[in-house]
């Protein structure tokens, strides 16, 4: 028999990230999603809204080697069980199916917190937080942080249908106002989040939009922000193999402060980006191209 080799754990001094064998202590359905609470010592203490965790699927013999990334929904550093981390999982493929089915007591090798959090304003300004589907998961914690700083917070939740909305009740607790849109009109107003944004930005005098959800929605947030002369901070969800910056699979074209476009790793330089820095023009038909003017792009004609 092959001896068992548990995956590693790590907590190096100054690293501000840990790798732990987390334990599922609660798994409950939330609409079509599953809301998991895991005891993950070390992650809760370090995490800020907008950061994510990367989960290994199965043990050291699993045929699924790549990590699955999930936004951190909430953390509680001093729970009865030690620090806990909550995530909201949508069924997508075999890895998420396996996570959804985990019983309490199951172990998940988790790395986090990862990525850059949502930057929060210095001043108590009005903010609009927009979540598409399970993309709303990190926004309620963000809302709490913003309101503690005196910000007026509006949350917009959008989804294809009512069962794909996440956190309607939580939104009412965490925000000054909640607006809901569904594509089919099964809850809130029928349409897209972008339909309600202009009025909301104007009415609240918002100076920043935060968003998390599908790429098309994030692009529309950026466009609405631009029309009103404000900034959108968007959390992207690019396919990631490692989540920790070692594989280079999660890149996307983003302008730096000098205007140069570079293919940057969304797991370490993101997942939160300023909307006006993202090269939206490169995202075409489910793929992301390398813009001709990106640093190190193939010479035109040489591809």
């Amino acid at each position: 028999m092959t001896p068992s080799h548990p995956l590693g754990t790590a907590a190096r001094e100054g690293a501000r990230v840990v790798q732990v064998d987390a334990e599922v202590i609660r798994s409950a359905p939330a609409g079509i999603y599953q809301h998991l609470t895991l005891v993950a010592p070390g992650i809760a203490e370090l995490a800020r809204p907008g950061q994510f965790v990367a989960a290994a699927i199965g043990d050291e013999h699993s045929s699924m080697l790549l990590r699955r990334s999930f936004s951190i929904h909430r953390v509680s550093p001093q729970g009865a069980y030690g620090g806990t981390v909550e995530i909201v999982v949508a069924a997508h493929g075999p890895g998420t199916e396996q996570l959804l089915a985990l019983p309490t007591g199951a172990r998940v090798n988790l790395i986090g917190p990862l990525g850059r959090p949502f930057p929060v304003p210095q001043e108590p300004v009005a903010c609009v937080l927009v979540g598409g589907g399970y993309g709303s998961a990190p926004l309620f914690w963000l809302a709490d942080v913003l309101r503690e700083r005196g910000c007026h917070v509006e949350i917009v939740l959008g989804a294809a249908s009512r069962d794909r909305l996440f956190g309607v009740l939580e939104g009412r607790r965490s925000a000054d106002g909640v607006t809901i849109t569904t594509d089919d009109g099964s809850e809130g107003s029928k349409g897209w989040v972008s339909d309600v944004l202009p009025e909301l930005i104007t009415r609240t005098g918002a100076s920043v939009i935060y968003g998390c959800g599908p790429m098309g929605m994030l692009r529309s947030l950026h466009e609405a922000a631009q029309e009103h002369g404000i900034v959108a901070q968007v959390a992207v969800e690019e396919a990631m193999a490692c989540g920790i910056g070692i594989c280079m699979t999660c890149v996307m074209p983003v302008r730096d402060a000098t205007g140069t476009t570079k293919m940057v790793r969304s797991c370490v330089e993101g997942p939160v980006f300023r909307g006006d820095r993202v090269r939206w023009d490169a995202f075409v038909d489910g793929r992301c191209l390398v813009p001709d003017d990106a640093l190190g792009a193939p010479e035109a004609g040489a591809r």
Binding site: A15, S63, M252
Partner: protein, 318 residues
């Protein structure tokens, strides 16, 4: 205590364990999880002369016990690599295998020159020449698929690299006869061989029914390719024993996830072992596998790792 030290073409290493090029970036990210100075050596991402943006995305597809990648050698170019990455690796005291790439044989040589003449050259334990990249002058056919192109690259790199820094040629398994390429590069002056690089593959997106990778083809890696790595090491090691290829050390790579996997590569003829894709699953893997390897050798009653290198060719443990 098992003696894990190895001699890599004259360079003593305290451990056979290494990262694999392109699977650990240039060190800082992995150093958040393990102390990379404890590795036998840290292998950097293949670097070219100028910055490279890499390929469009999706650049990866998970496959059963493996993955396809089409990163396209994204990197900062050798000047920035030396100033930012090699300087940092030098500052923490890491032993570094610098992986170099090029579109022409002279680009490889220019990159090697820049590295070995840098103020941080004392950190360089070896230069690994990634000849599995497209030869601009030969319709983009990879150098490693053809003996004369491979020979030329190693010849030009050899002229730039001083004595004391071994040159490892990294071979592709996607060839008709890997011993022929091995012979060509060793005759050109390579002091060791790293094998294997990835195997070419294609995955089709089951919904869109088009290639999953934007670049269509990608390199297959992970435990799924381990038998191919063991085969390649076996064949070249056997050819060395028969005198068909001059004997040089082999650095094994391909699908290593546990100590038992590493032992397979060693017994087939590898002196050192790289851990690539498994690090995406577990960033501690390059060190963890080393600990498991020591335990496995201990359990077999072996005191020195060197005693099992190539032992499968001699009828195995007695």
């Amino acid at each position: 205590m098992v003696d894990l030290s190895v001699d890599l073409a004259g360079v003593p290493l305290p451990s056979p364990m290494m990262t694999a090029s392109g699977c650990a970036a240039n060190g800082r990210e992995m150093h958040r999880f393990i102390d990379i100075t404890e590795l036998g050596a840290f292998v950097t991402k293949s670097v070219k002369a100028a910055p490279v943006s890499g390929r469009p995305t999706p650049r990866m597809a998970e496959t059963d016990s493996g993955m396809l990648n089409s990163i396209g050698l994204q990197g900062p170019g050798v000047a920035a690599f030396v100033e930012e990455d090699l300087a940092w690796l030098h500052s923490i005291g890491a032993r570094v295998v610098v992986s170099i790439a090029g579109g022409t044989a002279s680009e490889f040589a220019a990159v090697a020159r820049r590295v070995v003449r840098s103020p941080y050259a004392s950190a360089v334990a070896a230069i690994e020449v990634n000849i599995s990249c497209p030869n601009v002058a030969n319709r983009g056919l990879v150098f490693a698929c053809e003996p004369s192109g491979s020979h030329k690259v190693i010849t030009l790199v050899r002229e730039e690299v001083p004595r004391g820094i071994p040159i490892l040629a990294k071979l592709s398994p996607d060839v008709t006869d890997i011993t022929e390429i091995a012979a060509a590069v060793v005759k050109a002056g390579a002091h060791g061989l790293t094998m294997i690089n990835t195997l070419l593959g294609v995955a089709i997106d089951p919904v869109r029914l088009r290639p999953h990778l934007a670049a269509t083809t990608g390199g297959l890696s992970g435990p799924a390719v381990r038998p191919v790595a063991v085969r390649a090491i076996w064949q070249v090691s056997a050819a060395m024993r028969e005198g068909r290829v001059p004997a040089v050390p082999i650095v094994g790579a391909g699908g290593v996830r546990t100590g038992a996997d590493a032992l397979e590569l060693l017994a087939a003829g590898a002196t050192a072992v790289q851990v690539g894709t498994a690090a995406f699953n577990d960033p501690t893997a390059p060190l963890r596998v080393g600990r498991e390897l020591a335990d496995a050798l201990d359990a077999l009653g072996v005191d020195r790792l060197a005693d099992v290198v190539g032992i499968a060719h001699e009828g195995g443990l007695r």
